[in-house]
């Protein structure tokens, strides 16, 4: 009945079709990301009231929390794409997995930096060996390992497959690290500071947060599509469709 969906997905896996598809979608995703991001920043930095305890310093969560969500989300996308790449050897999945890694690493880095900036006035320290901070740091190392392994191979597809394998090992490892770090911290009974829980949050603080979350998602799509398009051109540089695109560019 509805077999156009698998058919469409199947077609989308072909580099030239995805190239055009991503090219059409990318400006819209980028525009949405900028619009939503600007709205969320206005809502978060200007409209939302100051926190009764933390004053204005809490406003960094409008960057920090969406970045933290994205750092995990992108890793999930990367692991799923890696699995598809290894099992079905789809070229596009390899490219998506490998081009997700630097974006995810950037989000993780932003999370760590903003968290550290917030921690200085709130906890009185740039860094504490809290379970969640440590897990996030380990996540950054996982991303860097994947990127490093990908680039250490001469052959890009081989490097992509090896790094995809590492990404899958990593996603098994993330819960283990999180669990063990939790256990470690409770054993040592370190500082009693806790990351601000957004559970009880008033609406005028919540909507900028959720809007920013949507903005980061769209930014990820836009950034990923841009990177994938470039990568596809480089990878398929010997193919006919790339030559056609190059000739059209040369004419105009």
């Amino acid at each position: 009945m509805a077999n156009w969906i698998p058919l469409w997905l199947h077609k989308l896996g072909s580099p030239p079709i995805f190239y055009r598809f991503a090219g059409t979608l990318r400006p819209w995703a980028l525009a949405l990301a900028l619009l939503l991001g600007a709205a969320a920043l206005y809502g978060g930095l200007v409209l939302a009231p100051a926190d009764y305890q933390q004053g204005d310093a809490y406003r960094i969560i409008f960057i920090h929390v969406p970045s933290a969500w994205m750092s995990l989300f992108v890793y999930g996308v990367m692991a799923v794409a890696s699995f598809i790449a290894l099992v079905w050897r789809i070229k596009l999945a390899e490219v998506v997995a490998m081009e997700s890694a630097p974006i995810g690493a950037a989000f993780t880095f932003i999370t760590l930096v903003t968290g550290s900036l917030w921690g200085k006035p709130m906890w009185g320290t740039w860094w504490t060996w809290d379970a969640r901070l440590t897990s996030e740091l380990v996540l950054l190392f996982l991303y860097l390992g994947v990127i490093g392994l990908y680039h250490s191979f001469e052959d890009r597809r081989q490097g992509a497959r090896a790094a995809a394998f590492l990404a899958i090992i990593g996603i098994i490892n993330v819960p283990i690290v999180h669990f063990s770090v939790n256990w470690w911290n409770t054993l040592h009974q370190g500082s009693t500071v806790r990351i601000l829980g957004p559970s009880k949050m008033s609406g005028d603080m919540l909507w900028p947060l959720l809007t920013m979350m949507a903005a980061t998602k769209f930014y990820y799509i836009a950034s990923l599509f841009g990177r994938v398009r470039t990568d596809l051109l480089a990878m398929e540089s010997g193919k006919d469709w790339v030559r056609q695109i190059a000739e059209e560019e040369a004419k105009s």
């Binding site: 250490s152 191979f153 497959r161």
Partner: protein, 228 residues
């Protein structure tokens, strides 16, 4: 082609790797020497107070052993890649995972075992109480094979690349965080007179899991890395 039975093939591979290691005895001594040097440097950096050294002894010995193993990890498959015998192993009729398991065992025997033998000396230099020593050795006996197995997967992944010692360290760090936490946790608990069986049991469980899965993952990784 007559297919060699499994047990003699495993024994032959183990004997070959151990003979090769024995012919180059100097290489076995290097990680031990490295661990000795690192542990010697700690009192110079931190001061010779007994109380401080006693408190950090367990952790320092564990991390030193880990780093020494990392130093030797790079060489696990290197000579076999250079002379092409690893490709022969991949082509052999015996299951690759089992053969790699034997290679990992040989590597553990030649690098980790000497480190475990010297660990009481290292701990003694830092005044670790004698009562804690058995717990530390037990933790090391469970943690080092785990590190060898996890490290082997990563070494196999980098088999097709240029020299990549630093990359190996970067990739191993996230994997060895839980191992270090539990091994050091057991030693610290024993030192404080607390029950230390739980982290040891976790290490044992992880080792049982890794013994089964890591050689398979190692074989898959090697096939990816050598598939040119």
């Amino acid at each position: 082609m007559s297919q060699a039975p499994l047990a003699p093939a495993c024994a032959a591979l183990l004997r070959r790797d151990l003979t090769l290691a024995w012919r180059r005895r100097g290489d076995i001594a290097m990680p031990v020497l490295y661990a000795l040097i690192v542990v010697t440097l700690f009192p110079f950096a931190l001061g010779p107070e007994d109380a401080l050294l006693q408190r950090i002894a367990g952790g320092v010995v564990l991390v030193t052993v880990l780093l020494a193993m990392l130093l030797a990890l790079d060489a696990m498959f290197r000579s076999d890649i250079e002379d092409g015998s690893l490709e022969q192993l991949v082509l052999a009729p015996q299951p690759l995972a089992l053969m790699l398991g034997m290679k990992i065992l040989a590597h553990w025997l030649t690098t980790a075992l000497p480190l475990i033998v010297i660990a009481p000396l290292l701990a003694g230099m830092l005044h670790l109480p004698a009562a804690v020593m058995p717990v530390m050795l037990l933790a090391l006996l469970l943690a080092t094979p785990l590190l060898s197995l996890l490290g082997a997967i990563l070494v196999a992944l980098t088999a097709g690349t240029r020299r990549s010692g630093m990359l190996l360290a970067l990739m191993l760090l996230p994997l060895c965080v839980p191992v270090v936490i539990f091994a050091a946790g057991a030693v610290a608990a024993a030192q404080q007179g607390l029950p230390w069986l739980a982290p040891i049991a976790w290490l044992g469980a992880a080792l049982a899991l890794a013994l089964v899965l890591a050689p398979l993952a190692c074989a898959a990784a090697l096939r990816i890395a050598l598939d040119a």
